[in-house]
């Protein structure tokens, strides 16, 4: 065959055209995970996500510690959203041990978890900004995030790793005069993040980079079992705070945000809209919260559950976060399975990246609101 070609011309073999790239696991553009990407020229042909670089065996560790000593290590997968990852664990253990949480603690939990959701989302937004080459969007969220970190530090004593939720309530009550400070900070924060629309979300450069890239249709979003902002950006109105309200979410006044287009732009906008709703929730919870009362149920020294299994879920910053806790009449849980939003959203990455330009990879990848450490557990 080659002999029939005119002189100077060569046929290129298909295998040689396609090049395999390892993005990660230490590449800053991918977080602590590896994407094995095959490119044909500038276009992605196939993508194989390879998580597990920071797998720490949380589920195994949980089988060796009792219900209380499990608290500080179970928050490690997402330290900057630690309240939300401890939330389903506490709900599950409360169901196993039959604890009734005091009313004030329920409200404080909601406030802490919403503050934490904003802290997480700001962190994610900063990274999303810098990987799109928008360094102002790195500086602003990283700075404004400190407002809420200060609030959480006032409540819990720690800037990031709070370990604040315990089965049966919260670790300690709010400090004196917290309501006023919180209201002031949250109001300023809300005013501040509204300015992000001008610099980021209405920015034609962002829109041109993210619009119509990585489109996930409504049907596929359901079929792949995605969750959180990815699901709501594809037009499915599913927020566990509304659909299966835990603690006092049914008393609070808020909305869920749904966009229809399912592209990277919609996926990047939903968490920001959620933060505006979080501000509403915090203000409402501060208003409706009982002004005094107990915040924690007294536990036995080494509490044991019966032979039961429980599955509880909450809405975290990255979507539904469920915990399947199996108790076998021992102080330690028999099995803790953590089903996290990041891991569930990982499955759609090969479908979204196929056919995209390699340069669009960060725009699509980070729009999934993916946190590699959480997915690895």
């Amino acid at each position: 065959m080659t002999a029939q070609l005119p002189p100077g011309l060569q046929l290129e073999k298909v295998d040689e055209r396609i090049m395999t790239l390892n993005v990660g696991p230490q590449h800053p553009g991918s977080g602590h995970m590896r994407l094995i990407i095959q490119v044909d020229g500038d276009y992605i042909v196939a993508c194989d996500p390879d998580p597990g670089y920071v797998h720490r065996g949380e589920e195994k560790m949980a089988e060796y510690r009792n219900y209380i000593t499990n608290i500080p290590h179970l928050e490690r997968p997402v330290i900057h959203d630690s309240c939300n990852i401890l939330y389903p664990y506490c709900l599950a253990v409360e169901e196993i041990l039959g604890l009734e949480v005091p009313e004030r603690a329920k409200y404080v939990r909601v406030i802490a978890s919403e503050l934490n959701r904003c802290v997480y989302t700001m962190y994610w937004l900063a990274i999303y900004g810098i990987f799109l080459g928008h360094s102002t969007m790195f500086m602003w969220p990283a700075g404004d995030r400190e407002l809420l970190i200060d609030l959480l530090e006032k409540i819990t004593g720690a800037r990031v790793t709070h370990a604040y939720f315990v089965p049966g309530g919260i670790r300690n009550d709010l400090p004196a005069n917290f309501e006023d400070v919180c209201l002031r900070q949250v109001n300023y924060f809300e005013k501040r993040i509204k300015e992000y629309a001008d610099i980021f979300y209405d920015n034609p450069i962002l829109i041109s980079r993210t619009e119509n890239t990585g489109i996930l249709s409504r049907q596929n979003a359901i079929r792949l079992g995605t969750t959180g902002s990815v699901l709501r950006a594809s037009g499915v109105d599913f927020d566990i705070r509304k659909k299966e309200p835990y603690d006092v979410y049914e008393n609070l006044d808020f909305q869920t945000n749904v966009l229809q287009s399912g592209d990277s732009y919609a996926r990047s906008k939903i968490p920001w809209l959620d933060m505006l709703e979080s501000c509403k929730i915090i203000r409402d919870a501060l208003k409706k919260m009982p002004k005094s009362g107990g915040v924690r149920v007294k536990l036995k020294p080494n509490p044991k559950g019966g032979d039961v299994e429980v599955y509880r879920r909450v809405e975290s910053g990255r979507g539904a976060l469920g915990m399947h806790v199996v108790s076998k009449s021992k102080p330690e849980p028999y099995r803790v399975k953590i089903s996290v939003g990041s891991f569930r959203n990982l499955i759609c990455m090969p479908y979204l990246l196929r056919g995209e330009k390699l340069g669009n990879m960060p725009a699509v990848y980070w729009s999934l609101n993916y946190w590699p450490v959480e997915a690895d557990r």
Binding site: P51, G52, M61, Y64, E103, I222, E244, R313, S339, F343
Partner: protein, 250 residues
């Protein structure tokens, strides 16, 4: 040697002491432990009598919006009879549909508020799963958790199924469980610890099943991609979430 023996004696003494204290505490604490919870509630009620939250507390866990009417009916029943018939109606009707269709093949393990669990044999799981998807409208899997039971010589795999499309089912989680035989010396992928994969029925199960394969050694037949996911490529030990895999130093 002498120091060792004294230490062991100390430990023995401690061990003998500990149960006494715990027993005495347990005997005492059986009654008083509910008391703190009550006192906290009373505190709230004394301080803020106007709050709407106070009357809500003595009631059992707040009822979902859709099921207010059946629940009140049930309460009347439960007052008359023994509190055994606390099964929520909607969940029971879902479970009944499965048992009517499959009879003794599907065993309902529990029915709780918003949660159902159905145990099936591994031969029937594909039929039951496709029925649950097509007729009951559950459309995705939230999690797949494998639980190891060395004494019963089985590994249980629980699929937690949910629904996005049916608003009636949005609170429900249906746990579909099956179990695979467990072998003492596992050889993942080559021994009898196998289950049929549900990947063709619930697409979202793909990565969860891969995780279950590497963590517990359950091979899923017909799964297109039974590779490692989280563990390192050179992992040469037994699957780590099995109970006989011990963490060093514990």
């Amino acid at each position: 040697m002498s120091s060792d023996t004294t230490e062991t004696k100390d430990i023995k003494k401690k061990r003998t002491r500990k149960p006494r204290t715990t027993k005495s505490k347990a005997k005492k604490s059986e009654e008083p432990t509910p008391a703190p919870a009550e006192t906290t509630t009373t505190e709230i009620s004394t301080t803020i009598p106007d709050e709407t939250s106070v009357p809500a507390e003595p009631e059992p866990v707040p009822a979902p919006v859709e099921e207010i009417i059946p629940e009140t009916e049930e309460k009347v029943e439960t007052e008359d009879v023994v509190p055994q018939v606390e099964l929520p109606k909607f969940e029971k009707s879902l479970a009944d549909k499965v048992t009517q269709k499959f009879g003794s093949k599907a065993e309902v393990a529990y029915i709780k508020q918003d949660r159902i669990r159905i145990n099936v044999k591994k031969e029937d799981i594909k039929d039951v799963a496709s029925y649950i998807r097509d007729e009951l409208n559950f459309d995705h899997a939230e999690s797949v958790s494998g639980v190891d039971y060395p004494d019963a010589k089985k590994i249980e795999v629980v699929y937690h199924l949910g629904s996005y499309t049916d608003p009636e089912l949005s609170k429900q989680i249906l746990a579909l469980a099956t179990s695979a035989p467990r072998e003492e010396n596992p050889n993942p992928g080559r021994d009898s610890t196998r289950l049929p994969s549900l990947r063709d029925i619930f697409y979202s199960v793909e990565f969860h099943e891969r995780e279950c394969f590497e963590m517990l050694g359950v091979y899923f037949d017909d799964h297109p991609d039974n590779r490692r996911l989280l563990l390192p490529e050179d992992w040469a030990d037994i699957p780590p979430l099995r109970k006989d895999f011990d963490i060093k130093g514990r």
